[in-house]
């Protein structure tokens, strides 16, 4: 069988984050080679670079923010290049971390345990109101990209507490490697970022882990494997092999017995270049939440291959598009909604793998499982948004 394969060379861009685990393990532990693929992973410093190099063909495929794949396909904010996602790479995995000062203010303003996102969001609204009265500068929140689930998670959470994200706070883009430093220097009061950066801030004693994003939404597609739509058509067989290699790697990552080996592969200097233990804790969902060493365990913090995380569900794309509309990045139109859904390609995933459909028992009924607001309905985005507007601020 392998003699028939043409040992195809692929250049794939990635950003050094734990949610690139399946891609990195596929390339570095022989799963890609097993499919006759010679994968060269190229580490990038910005999502803009990943997007542009994928768009112009310098990369064959990329580890990409799911909303960027949709934005690029719809031509939002940038050149329109249709992309497809034949596989998801991760669900969830981000966290909101706040400075010790803001943490203390939230605790003081809360009418309960700020471990509950609705309580913390309402406390935030009170903190903001008090700061306005005393004429203080608005709070600044860092996130990684305009088209990112980080941006939507922060906005969704704030809005549920009665905060208007565009008026009451400053939301700024910060590259993940600069987040921790910016929190330490008081340039931001809080941030939402992917692993391992929240853990790094907590380890350094300069931040409190407020929420895993999985406490805000039970299930949101974070990263996808993205390729150009035209490339996918011309290279159907190669793409199926790549999807298979990544799927096998994802299964490997999810096996507890392999976690140390996976953490070693990811910790390598040319991959993530961060400590083995921080990566291991992230994969295991054991999160140090306060500088004193308190730990919170979350079975949903980062899903790579379990709970059907790898299959790209169009309803997930519809939800991401709905957030773009809600927060002013995209106009509302049925055509755009349909185009967004068409970016996620479960058909390509299923054809490559011939697996049984994933067991989704215990997963949220509307596919998202948000802590507040209406249930999501991919077939009625307009209705969903109307209910969001009624239940919280935009």
């Amino acid at each position: 069988m392998s003699a028939a394969l043409d040992n195809r060379r692929l250049r794939i861009g990635f950003i050094p984050l734990c949610d690139a685990a399946a891609l990195i393990v596929a390339a570095d532990r022989g799963f890609a080679a097993g499919e006759g693929l010679d994968v060269e992973l190229v580490r990038e410093v910005s999502w803009s670079n990943v997007r542009d190099k994928l768009n112009i063909g310098m990369f064959d495929a990329a580890h990409l923010l799911a909303p960027v794949a949709i934005a690029s396909s719809l031509g939002l904010g940038h050149v329109k290049v249709p992309l497809v996602a034949p596989s998801a790479l991760a669900i969830n995995g981000n966290a909101i971390t706040v400075s010790p000062a803001l943490h203390a203010e939230l605790v003081a303003a809360a009418d309960g345990d700020i471990g509950a996102p609705l309580t913390s969001a309402r406390a935030l609204a009170r903190v903001i109101a008090a700061r306005k009265r005393s004429g203080e500068e608005p709070l600044t929140f860092g996130m990684t990209f305009p088209f990112s689930s980080h941006n939507y998670a922060l906005r969704f959470w704030m809005a549920a507490g009665g905060v208007a994200p565009d008026e009451d706070v400053r939301l700024v883009v910060l590259p993940p490697p600069y987040m921790v430093e910016s929190l330490a220097n008081h340039q931001v009061d809080a941030f939402c970022v992917g692993a391992p950066w929240s853990s790094v801030a907590v380890d350094q004693g300069i931040g409190f882990f407020l929420h895993s994003v999985s406490e805000i939404f039970a299930r949101v597609t974070e990263k996808v494997l993205a390729v150009r739509a035209a490339w996918a058509e011309r290279n159907a067989d190669v793409l199926a092999r790549l999807v298979r290699a990544i799927r096998r790697a994802a299964v490997f990552v999810e096996d507890q017995a392999n976690r140390d080996e996976v953490a070693d592969l990811l910790a390598a200097p040319h991959r993530l270049g961060v400590a083995h233990d921080v990566i291991r804790r992230t994969l295991d969902g054991k999160l140090k939440v306060a500088p004193d060493g308190r730990v919170r365990e979350s079975g949903r913090y980062l899903l790579i291959g379990r709970n059907g995380a790898a299959r790209p569900y169009p309803a997930q794309a519809a939800w991401l598009y709905a957030q773009m509309v809600r927060f002013g990045q995209a106009p509302l139109s049925p055509d755009l909604g349909a185009a967004a859904q068409a970016v996620f390609r479960p058909d390509l995933f299923d054809a490559a793998l011939a697996e049984k459909p994933p067991d989704l028992r215990g997963e949220p009924e509307d596919g998202i499982g948000a802590f507040a607001g209406p249930a999501f309905d991919a077939d009625d985005i307009a209705g969903y948004l109307k209910m969001c507007a009624a239940s919280g601020k935009r």
């Binding site: 410093v45 803009s48 050149v79 700024v172 883009v173 002013g328």
Partner: protein, 194 residues
């Protein structure tokens, strides 16, 4: 050429930024500023209020600039990436060279094209300079290793400097490797046997 345009360069490499700024000034763009500080990048950019922003692709802060496309309270003047849907060659050329350009929305393409072309050629010139430097450094290091290996051979085999060099060269030819590689093996072996 177009002295009214305000240009900002965001580049962590001071040498490359200087090469680019010089080129722009020679071409008649008199209002060229460089921003070194990437903390508070947006505030620093708004303080200059440029028409054109040039940023190197090795800079993680490129994502920060993407925020300027968004319509929000933080943005004073809408900025767009300089891309021309019809001209993918120029995007390719600029990404290839390692630079990206952002412009104030509505600025005419013809006014920007010469700036981008100049950027591309200066970035390439810098890359060549760097490659040249790298080559010189490697050559210097190789010479040092060969000198050390010669010394080791002279001492251990009681031969002249010329014979030591001839031995290295012959071995390299026989094994189809570079003299510096053979010399490195000699040095490593000698260190191990110490």
């Amino acid at each position: 050429m177009d002295p009214s345009l305000k240009i900002v360069i965001v580049d962590e490499s001071p040498v490359r930024a200087a090469i680019l700024a010089d080129g722009l000034r020679e071409a008649g763009f008199t209002q060229v500023a460089r921003i070194e500080e990437t903390a508070n990048l947006l505030a620093n950019i708004y303080a200059v209020d440029p028409d054109v922003i040039l940023i190197d692709l090795e800079n993680p802060s490129r994502d920060v600039l993407e925020q300027m496309f968004q319509v929000s309270r933080a943005v004073r003047r809408p900025i767009a990436m300089f891309v021309d849907q019809s001209d993918s060659a120029s995007i390719q050329a600029s990404v290839d060279a390692g630079v990206s350009a952002y412009i104030v929305d509505g600025l005419k393409k013809e006014r920007i094209k010469p700036i981008l072309d100049l950027c591309i050629s200066r970035f390439h010139a810098f890359a060549r300079l760097q490659a040249e430097l790298e080559k010189t450094k490697t050559a210097l290091e190789e010479r040092k290793v060969i000198e050390r290996a010669k010394g080791i051979l002279m001492r251990l085999r009681q031969i002249s400097e010329e014979d030591a060099y001839a031995l290295l060269r012959r071995t390299a030819m026989n094994e189809n490797r570079k003299i510096a590689e053979i010399a490195q093996s000699v040095v490593t072996a000698a260190d191990l046997l110490k």
